[in-house]
Symmetry: C2
Subunit: 218 residues, 2 copies
DNA sequence: CCCCACATTTAGGTGTAACTAACTTTTCTT
DNA sequence: AAGAAAAGTTAGTTACACCTAAATGTGGGG
């Protein structure tokens, strides 16, 4: 099946929103920065191709075939991100945009070569799982920093954001994959969590804490 | 100026055909595998943008701005080819197709990083010159193997083809950049040139000899 | 110097994917 | 449960870049 870049982007977006559940027209429109009306049109086309299950006004889910393609695109994206970081020295806040454009244009050959060169990595620079060639997703922590208790010490395992400003902020405060965080204070009124990284103190908004995934213990 | 991938391809094609002289509609159509009528349409658009000088029925040349873009695209293409070969172990017959797709989708950042990593190379795996960032083309040999005399020994400096079958053929017979060839026979009736590479003998058609550029002496 | 073959352009049409505006369906609020 | 707000869809356009078929321009040979 030879899909347009646009179709691939839609499938990826549906996968990332839905994660099994159904995605709404407006969520997809938001993520892809297009008009909701355009989404409706595309969903019909994808449904024709049996890549999604689409019910008017009710949302959309991926079929098995659609999920497979979404995972392939995601594999490309995350392998490229990893490659840019490991082989070309990109920072984790720079890799997303570059990968977003390249993911649709690399060959199977290229995919295989960089995967091999990197030692078939399972996680990208943000800790997101890289789908394997046969379409399995390595396990990830779903434990959010936002849900950790005062006094606990946790290890950063994943940062579920591609926003470069957020990523740069975290990097500058020593919050990177594998970093140990001690939660020193939860202020539920100001929706702020105070953590210590090494010996420095950082205040984090609740929004940021929702996208930082951790493992209990250090 | 933000051009479509297609426009970039047209500018590159015009540059490569014309090399200063004007390119014809049909030459461009042939190179890009599109209908001549489509070329006419695109040339009008490019002329509007002041990227080409176009006179109906007479052909087209690049303006200064158009040439600049063509050189940038060519720089991307050839840097990527070089990178694929040097960093990822591609063979010279595999690099073109991959580069053709990637060249339009890499950032300035990516260009700079691979150029630096490669030590700002001046020639790609085929010996073609890589335009510098400020738009200069490193010098190349224009001496064709087809024009060399019986008994001469020459060094291969450039192979002006991206056709993978041709490139594979040459590779398999030891004809690579830097190889020393001794012209042992010219048969002007069968349009064939016989050369010796190391100790093995190879018969080359005149067509092939026209795209192999050499330097006199070994 | 005229005519013909070939090159090129014009005209009209296709498919993709976006947009806006207007309409319909669903969901929330009271 | 009614009506308003939000979400989603339909209809009609636009832009891009391709195509085919028909018309037109150009240059060389008789």
């Amino acid at each position: 099946m030879n899909l347009s870049q646009n179709m691939e982007d839609y499938l990826k977006a549906i996968f990332q929103i839905g994660h099994g559940e159904s995605a709404s027209t407006s969520e997809i429109a938001e993520r892809l920065s297009v008009n909701p009306a355009s989404v409706t049109g595309m969903l019909k086309k994808l449904a024709e191709l049996k890549l999604v299950e689409y019910v008017s006004y009710r949302g959309v889910t991926l079929t098995h075939a659609g999920r497979k393609i979404a995972l392939e695109v995601l594999r490309h994206h995350r392998l490229i991100e990893t490659y840019l970081a490991e082989a070309l020295g990109y920072e984790w806040d720079q890799v997303h945009d570059e990968a977003e454009r390249l993911e649709h244009h690399i060959s199977e050959e290229f995919e295989d070569r960089i995967a091999k060169m990197l030692g078939d990595p399972l996680y990208d620079p943000h800790g997101d799982p890289i789908p394997t060639k046969d379409g399995r997703l390595p396990p990830v922590s779903r434990e959010r920093l936002a849900d950790a208790n005062e006094g606990e010490t946790v290890t950063v395992r994943r940062v579920g954001s591609e926003d470069s400003t957020t990523l740069r902020f975290l990097k500058e405060h020593g919050i990177r994959l594998g970093a140990a965080l001690r939660i020193t204070k939860r202020d539920d009124r100001t929706h702020t969590i105070t953590v210590h990284v090494q010996r420095t103190r950082v205040d984090l908004s609740n929004d940021v804490c929702k996208i930082i995934f951790v493992e209990r213990g250090s």
